[in-house]
């Protein structure tokens, strides 16, 4: 695997991580609006 391949994999991984962190934040915020019944 070349250095470039590895760099692009890591870049994609960081993008995935940012999206997942935003999802986690959304669930955190959502818990304050949880109003069953």
């Amino acid at each position: 695997m070349t250095n470039e391949d590895m760099k692009s994999k890591r870049k994609a991984a960081v993008r995935t991580a940012i999206i997942l962190a935003l999802i986690a934040l959304a669930f955190f915020a959502g818990s304050f609006f949880f109003l069953p019944g």
Partner: protein
Amino acid sequence: MSTTAEAIHDHHDDHHELTGFKRWLFTTNHKDIGTMYLIFSLVMFFTGGAMAMVIRAELFQPGLQFVDPGFFNSMTTMHALIMVFGAVMPAWVGFANWMVPLMIGAPDMALPRMNNWSFWILPIAFGLLLSTLFLPGGAPAAGWTLYPPLVLQTGEAFPFAIFSVHLMGLSSIMGSINVIATILNMRAPGMTLLKMPIFVWSWLITAYLLIAVMPVLAGAVTMLLTDKYFGTTFFSAAGGGDPVLFQHIFWFFGHPEVYIMILPAFGVVSEILPTFARKRLFGYEAMVYAIAAIAFLSFIVWAHHMFTVGMPFSGEVFFMFTTMLIAVPTGVKVFNWTATMWKGSMTFETANLFALAFLFLFTIGGFSGLMLAIAPADFQYHDTYFVVAHFHYVLVPGAVFALMAATYYWLPKWTGNMVNETLGKWHFWLSAISVNVLFFPQHFLGLAGMPRRIPDYGTQFADFNMWSSIGGFAFGLSQLMFVYVIIHTVKGGAGKAAAAPYEGSHGLEWRVPSPAPHHTWEEPPVIAEDDHRVHS
């Protein structure tokens, strides 16, 4: 400049050259971090276990013997928090760290520095939590569910406990982001999603569950904190809030949490049984879909923990039936594990014995879960020792036995040495017998009406409690043997292990030498289109 992945490794993994504590403090290597997670969880396992011994000693006979009721409640609360967040969850993250990169042909986790952080937050979190034992007012004592208004009576320990839960959540979320980012982006060429080992699949789905529910727990405890210190009334009826709201939020987290602890166990058992049956896993794709179905259903069953709180009839029926639906994908899994063994060339190494015990004993926990799912019957069982028996069957001979199976299975890969099977089997049989002596009588106690979380009880419950305590002490002592077997294996065990020490194993982790070198898959393996032997 080198054109290989080694160049990348050089700038973040040169801490490998450091010695002593710094080597572990700054490491970004997935195997080092996996090892730290596993050792940490073992320490927490014994810490939480010591608290369980206090509980069982107090319950050995009726009357108050050793501790006052307040401290007893702290023990049940701390035991649960430590076992759930400090022992079982970090142990699975440790396995994910060690095995996922090896199994998918990746050189490391996708985000190695964050991986280091995820781990090192944990000792701080549990240091905070354990420090509450020494604070005025004592450690939290309202149960691991932290229900208000009771939990708001906690003394100075309260903010410590809340902050430690925040840190545990942060660590779990960072760990699961890393697992997903690794699995989605770092797989070797040709390793398509439906060629991944089931353990990797189980962790991918578990990580999504964690990302969805840990922030909800963080939100719930944040609201507790603001209710106590900042005058909000989220859970106080006096200010227009509702304490039952907390229970809904908590169990929206709490039920998926159960699957967070058990799905990786399903993955591990799906690796081990085919290996020692010397057959392919029966119904690989069905197993993947079953895990996904269980994960989905785990989000729509939470209120079965609250049947007695009071809810509309339609709500009770909805949560009863969705809960029962979980038996369908779980049944698919149990059927497929059985079919995997059918006509296989079975051998009974320690790892396989623990996996088989998991299959039988977890199923007992599953059945008692079905009994609890029946809303009208739950009114009888609720808050009794039947519930304690149920969830301990799911978590101890369930999740913990799977952790032990996984440890025995992969120890040769980690240490380069084979496990002494005689010692391992002693550990297995002592554990398997004592765990049943410990938890089976609790079903009868619960059905006879003994409530949970009490330090004293009527004399009619004395005999079963005595048996349960004897089983508890025996189970606790048996685990010293587990530590002995691990140390024995690290120091040489039963001889050197080959790269693939089991004839029935096929995953990529068995294609690297034993012990696995510090860096693996720097040149990723290429999986041919017709190579389906990369999963069990």
